[in-house]
Amino acid sequence: MAEQVLTQCTVGGPVKVTVRDGKIVSMRPIIFDKTDKGGWTIEAHGKKFSDPRMTTLNPYVVGERMRVYSENRIKYPMKRKHFDPKGERHPELRGNDEYVRISWDEALDIVTGEIKRIRETYGAAAITAMASSHHNWGLLYYKMGPYPRFYNLLGYTELLDNPDSWEGWHWGAIHAWGYYWKLGHSDNFDILADGLQNCEQVMFWSVDPNTSAGGYCAQDTTIWRHWLRELGIQRVFIDPYCNATAAHVGEKWIAPRPGTDAAMAEAIAYVWIKEGTYDKWFVENRTVGFEEFKAHILGETDGQPRTPQWASKICDVPAHTIIALAREWAAKRTMLACGAMYGTGGACREAYATEWARLMVILIAMQGIGKPGVNIWGGVAMGAPLDFNFKMPGYASAGWDAFATVAKKPAYPNYNKVTQKVYRILLPEAILNPPIHWRGEGFCGQYFDQNLKAMTYPEPGPNGAEIKMIHRHGGSFISTMTDTNRWVRMYQSPKLEFVVMQDCHWQSETKFGDVILPASTNFEHQDLSEWTAPGGYGHGNAGTNHRVMIYQHKCIEPLWESKPDWQIYRALADRLGFLEEYDEGHSEEEWMRKIFDYSDLPKHISYEDFKKKGYFVVPLPDDYKATVSNRWFYEGRPCDTPDPMNPNLGTDKAHLLATYSGKIEFVSQSLTKFDPNDKERPPMPRYIPSWEGYNTTKLTKKYPLQLITPHVRFSYHTHHDNKNPWLEDIPTHRVKKDGYAWWPVRIHPTDAAERDIHDGEIVKVFNDRGAVLGIAKVTERTRPGTVHSYQAGAKYDPLEPGKAGSIDKGGCMNLLTPSRLVSKNAPGMACNSCLVEICKWEA
């Protein structure tokens, strides 16, 4: 029996893969051996805390072999039965057509034929393409490698991402503390030791790290939050749902109505100002605009003091609880566990989420962000002692061409000849109802005002063109974007002449493609990468105990007729005559060697040994010196964190933040310059009643329940659900009834009783945008009036296939969420501002 143990990496941790007779039979975490370095011990309050000498796994990765061999793999190239590229295309049948198996040659001929025809007829701008987040893992051969290199060389309309997991921070917090190159987040260097040693309390405000810190980082930091408990550091959770982390280590759960967190934040500031319990030195020396904020909070501006009693009516949290919260916060050295990557939650994905995010910055500033024990600590999920000076690119280090770091001719930036851009969350409107306008160029990390830039599609002038072809590369926007019946309508438009879907699995969106190309998973090709590290804007975002470099071995041959993405795009480039430019004549492994040589790995290990061992743990230098995030700012020193993209480095502003004033801004100078009269994102943040929420009483008469849809725990977006059947035996994830695995809908007993709904019954969740079936979980973990159901159910299963607005049986809650953006100038998605009604489903 031929057996090999190889290494690979996934979105939920590195794995050792046992391959027997050419088949993957198990996957395990990596247990470090005696030669591996990177160990550390933190002493706090007489106790010692050391790094576990292993990597961890996220649950969905434990079953990864089931996903690799899933029945839902796309096995062969397919063509939609009624799609004839030379005749009738029948776009109206997208989503409700059959598929016929075709050869790779035929599939590639159709795709390249359409690319040529559309370019010749409408121009290069008439083609767009887009990956979605995280369906595989890698550096070169992942989402920012093969596909964007191909399209940048070809020329295409870039489809800009919205920062879907942290909208409020991106569109709001940048205007309070700069950090645009972090896309609105603070970094979290060396905060673990500071937290364990110096803080007395952690406020987990709208954050569930046991669920979402796992993104990329597996469960490496779960033990840290247990350490908080061991040390008696108080853990407070603010969330309408008693989330997975609160259920594990929570001491106090405060549950405001969805959409009202900003009011609670203002009331906390009120108590601090009234009682004088804020850091006056910091406010005076490190912030601007406090006097105006103070006048506003005290009601001197509009006659409404932001008292706890005022907030109580809005949040439906007792005023005495809000007062106690404010006093506890002021009395104890407190970390605020949001505002950094892996510290994102529902309150940043709702109407006017910019306001809450900016108020979070303001609150932690009022307590002196950066002093020992007082900081932003996203989810208590980043900040181990790690050597970030060790050089290794991430998949996003070179932007939209992962090869660019080592390529003779980088395809990004400034290569794509098409300047037109379109925006993901508005793609259906762009196709169906152009022109469209929005502010902000997707991920706005290049310069401060990028998030304010006026955008129009189609681009005015001769270079713009309406999009006629979409090439979707992995994942599904149905069930991850908002009001996703819009995608159904879009795909059925005759204006879209050609849709190609390239993926490993049949996703909810795949059945809208004209041609389907079967891609293989990263277990079917090789790559090398650093676990969790995106690079680029995500530099230093490591929610792990170690930096681990992985040689991603090819474990098995591509299954069925699937091919690695790299080979698919090579074949397309070959047919279109630019293969030599595309791969520069290098093999898969030659590119890997180039990355290896570029990195710091050769200083420690040979390529051959790295390949043989499969991983390398980055050592911690003997003279490692902790540089705590924001400490330099508190102390007025030049930034000393390993943050090479900080634009102030090496200038006389190196001790300042990147806001216009260089300080934390209670009243944003950038927003004052942009539009002082923007009532939806005014220069000074405040609670603004949602355009859809408990307060929109006309709508609540019809749809009285607020639906929140946080990130899902047992799937990375849509990439594991409906692919690994083992997950359907986890009742948090899906519940089987009558032979079907239903998506749980969590409802409070009082709301359930009013509707005669019992635990385990099938219910219909609905509003004017759609209707989704699920299985009722009657629970005390959701506050009354609020319904909780995870996003990203990957089983769009319309009772009437191909019909927009059909009842969905599979649990795609994002069919119900609103497409309206955070605010008129803040183009984020606001999925948690969603009203619904629920009833029993008896059909």
Partner: protein, 276 residues
């Protein structure tokens, strides 16, 4: 001698299901000869996770209890089997012989913990083997233990006094899931969820929480004291089932208040308002 055992620390269990999934990863479709026939690709649960929601909004806790074969010294399955089809190894691991146990469905009901399952396809009873096939190859721990991200599963040699498990066993903090079965289980627990009574104390006259005041609890033959925290919250954990308790709240300048509660379930008494 080596005698294996496992301790499950409930305080560290986050309900991530890694143990459950890892067990499937090890055994589903993978034949392990004399140790265990391959599990079907889906449907078996040698490691289960029991999730229990405790309390009422807004005082809610969740306990997760991993449950697997307890490798009992008085194993009911061994007694239920014919032909020595279930046996205990010298290291204490209880194994169902996949050949001898064929057709012996009664083994399933021999276990009061109900952790033995029937493999319909192979016509054999199956359960956790503590990854004996890996231990015999020199591995240190079963797969579920390896994949637990918080170290909630503690495995080792009970006969090695230096081992973590032996120390914990000696510390008197562990208990069997069902001591009333009297099975001498080798899998034991720390901090199994019992019942709690909790509440929040408010000063009625000023509508503020009453922090740092004394709360006492009496009942079930004991009296316990605690103090409210900065949110006015108090909590008594680890109470007996179905017992009558009285909670007494005292703060100077206010009338004392007593509240009765019965621990049929975890109970949040809500806001208790003190009056002058």
């Amino acid at each position: 001698m080596t005698r294996y055992g496992m301790i499950i620390d409930i305080t560290k269990c986050t309900g991530c299901y890694n143990c459950f999934l890892t067990c499937r990863d090890e055994f589903a479709g993978n034949d392990n000869g004399n140790y265990a026939a391959a599990q079907p690709m889906s449907g078996m649960n040698w490691m289960k996770l029991i999730e229990r929601e405790r309390g009422q909004y807004p005082k809610v806790k969740v306990s997760y209890t991993p449950v697997t074969c307890m490798h009992c010294e008085n194993a009911g399955c061994i007694k239920a089997a014919q032909n020595n089809a279930v046996y205990r190894r010298p290291d204490g691991i209880v194994i169902i012989d996949p050949v001898k146990a064929k057709g012996q469905k009664q083994i399933v009901s021999g276990c009061p913990y109900r952790v033995i399952e029937w493999n319909e396809e192979k016509q054999v009873a199956q359960k956790c083997i503590l990854c004996a096939h890996l231990l015999d190859k020199g591995e240190k721990v079963p797969r579920c233990v390896e994949s637990c991200p918080t170290g909630a599963l503690i495995f080792g040699n009970l006969d090695d006094p230096k081992s973590e498990i032996a120390k914990l066993m000696a510390s008197n903090t562990t208990e069997a899931l069902h001591p009333e079965f009297g099975l001498k289980e080798k899998v034991r627990y720390i901090s199994l969820a019992k019942k709690f009574i909790a509440g929040t104390v408010i000063y009625g006259d000023i509508d503020e929480v009453a922090g740092n005041i004394t709360v006492s609890l009496s009942g079930d033959g004991q009296t316990r004291l605690t103090r409210t925290n900065g949110f006015g919250d108090f909590e008594f954990e680890g109470l007996a089932d179905n017992a009558d308790y009285t909670v007494m709240i005292e703060a100077s300048g206010y009338k004392a208040k007593s509240v009765k509660a019965k621990t049929l379930k975890d109970t949040y008494l809500g806001e208790i308002v003190l009056k002058k």
